[in-house]
Symmetry: C2
Amino acid sequence: MNYKRLDQNDLKTIRAIIKEEERILYGEEINEEYSHDELSDTVSYPDVVVKVISTEEVSEIMRYAYENTIPVTPRGSGTGLVGASVAIEHGIMLDTSLMNRFLELDENNLTITVEPGVLLMELAAYVQDRDLFYPPDPGEKSATIGGNISTNAGGMRAVKYGVTRDYVRGLEVVLPDGKVVEFGGKVVKNSTGYAMKDLMVGSEGTLGIITKATLKLLPLPKKAISLLIPFPTLEKAIRTVPFIIKSKSIPTAIEFMQREVILDAEKYLGKKFPDSSADAYLLLKFDGNSTEEIEKDYANVAQICLEQGAIDILISDTNEREESIWKARGAFLEAIKGSTTYMDEVDVVVPRGSVNEMVEYIHGLYKEVDIRIKSFGHAGDGNLHAYILKDDLSEEEWENKMKAAMDKIYGKARELSGQVSGEHGIGYAKKSYLMESMDPATVEIMRGIKRAFDPKNILNPHKVCQM
Amino acid sequence: MNYKRLDQNDLKTIRAIIKEEERILYGEEINEEYSHDELSDTVSYPDVVVKVISTEEVSEIMRYAYENTIPVTPRGSGTGLVGASVAIEHGIMLDTSLMNRFLELDENNLTITVEPGVLLMELAAYVQDRDLFYPPDPGEKSATIGGNISTNAGGMRAVKYGVTRDYVRGLEVVLPDGKVVEFGGKVVKNSTGYAMKDLMVGSEGTLGIITKATLKLLPLPKKAISLLIPFPTLEKAIRTVPFIIKSKSIPTAIEFMQREVILDAEKYLGKKFPDSSADAYLLLKFDGNSTEEIEKDYANVAQICLEQGAIDILISDTNEREESIWKARGAFLEAIKGSTTYMDEVDVVVPRGSVNEMVEYIHGLYKEVDIRIKSFGHAGDGNLHAYILKDDLSEEEWENKMKAAMDKIYGKARELSGQVSGEHGIGYAKKSYLMESMDPATVEIMRGIKRAFDPKNILNPHKVCQM
């Protein structure tokens, strides 16, 4: 594609649209953080960062960019892990973080309509204060809701409540040519044409720019309790999961964790984890509207765990203990990052019944490829996070060993009928693995879909399925 | 489009692919039922009906049809209401009803993989016998699961459990050119490229032919109980719904019904409805794993209903009573059809908070347009079914009045931020209403998506967004 390089004339038009100079960063004014995201080593600067505050501004910028074939990259908090919000072709970066208003809480329809820059933690707190509940709970609470929608973020409550897509009812979207459309709405059911809303969710800023989202809420469950369950081995822990899933007591979360990652978290947080009796744990959470209801559920599941070889059942029924456990869990990514010089991640998802095989395989790679790999993840939904650590390897050793480990992990995931990403997306960094794992016919259709939205390929080029 | 008209040569190739002559119907051998669906007045015969039994057959037929630009229409049980399975351009009809095998029940992953011709009632019974649960529950139990997926069928348990899309994990799809691809899989979470699985669901046989579906199951709830709640007026009944939704006791179903429709059902079934005390009812269902749990839920909701003016709370806790109520509910469509000479339907969905306004508006049309209209529907999810009755009107009067009523109903739904179809789809019959209600930019993108899958437009032409 022959993109137009941004010049002073373009900047003049942008200034005319945006009016407030402090919302435009150009050249040297652009902070280093705008050149990358939270993890991937994809680095590229936009020519200009525009901090938009309205749908109209987004629409006008897009119309101008479309007419002039200037690439545009949308960005929220920049907490992504796969380079989806990096401006590979430079051009305009649309920072949506100032579009952070709560527009409407509709208690009759149990929906909330927000701008895309609202942070996940702000949204969760806002609805909780009103006795309502937004279930998706990814680890990164300072991500924007626009970013969560763009990656179809999953998180820790997916076992019981599903993922972000399940809570998006309607979207206002600015198309690459600047037109403003609505997909879905407040309606609960919809069989009206193709699933445009669902297609937008998880499209990583390549099909349109989300400027408003109407989200489904639930009544806030009155009680929650966690069980921390030590097992003699990780294998025994994970083998227990299908028995839990089949029981009629569905937890909101089933996480697995190992001592080595817990140690990192203790060091990172400067705080002891509440138990040190075992090498492997399952962490379960239950919620409901009465203590009795939850107690019945967890007693049932505790029994299953003991039958499958659990060492003990630690019930976390105080806020303090609850916080110390989940804070550790929430800190895993940062803690592992802090334990090494550099790292890269895989976010494979495999059928629940194959988690053990996948985890064991990843463990075996430590020896086979001779590189440190730490993992944790969502045992209840088959989504594993494995982090490959650079430590003191040379650049060349790192590149070779990291690529070898990645190839093997993604290959194994394919063998187990898994997918490249459970919740982090493809972005820029995982594209080659997507191409390897996906039928070429499907890739061709995805590119056709991209063309249907963005025939000039100006919106977030080189991401997902675009080479 | 210039389609090739099917000739003897094409028939010879089809015979070579299919081999068993009794699975090919040609010309005069084609039963009248293949020329239409359950309701819409769209009538057109295919040139040949092919009863396929395998993915390979579907693939070979599609490859041949694609190479020769012969239109193909997929069809399950033909229970649709909007003409989606009618062969407008003639050509080949692929009848998938013989592809009705249960391929795998995976108890570790709680999934079942079936062929598209399995009937909804067969699927429900099969998993129930194994203490498992497939929640989607549309009224038409003899629809195929392939048809349910193609319309993203909703049904009566959507309030608590969601719709068909929420239970489709993976699909095997034959593309228009004959290539076989898989979208999704057994994985629970997926952020790997665009949402192809979700896009296929609800695409009404226009993007590909579903040849296998992996569906999510739940553990079977141990108990269910229904409440039949008479109200003095329909308005009072429907005004109660938002209070129920906001309570922490979510029913699986919230249906509304009126005496006039119940009378039709009594006549049709030859069986008395268990109550005759009121003109309007809410019908609620609760499920769970213990009687106490359900009792607490329904006691809570019963209290809400009484506070909002319900006349009584009739608890259906025997199988007999349960059956007599839900059998009446299930018979509404057929019963209304039997009460008139001919009818057409609307399946609008509006935000839950606007159901009352929509229902009142439809009632008012009876006088305004001077035509009988009967309605019932899913109060809990805003999806209304209204049937416009021909009775003894002349063809001309019928056309005029029916169109006038439809225009007004769809216009009102738009005004209330509703959508054309909640669960029946667009097919052929509702296309003009889709075009009126949808942004032209969105229609253009949908057509681009269609082109990405089917550049020669041979698969189910003239449906959904194709003129």
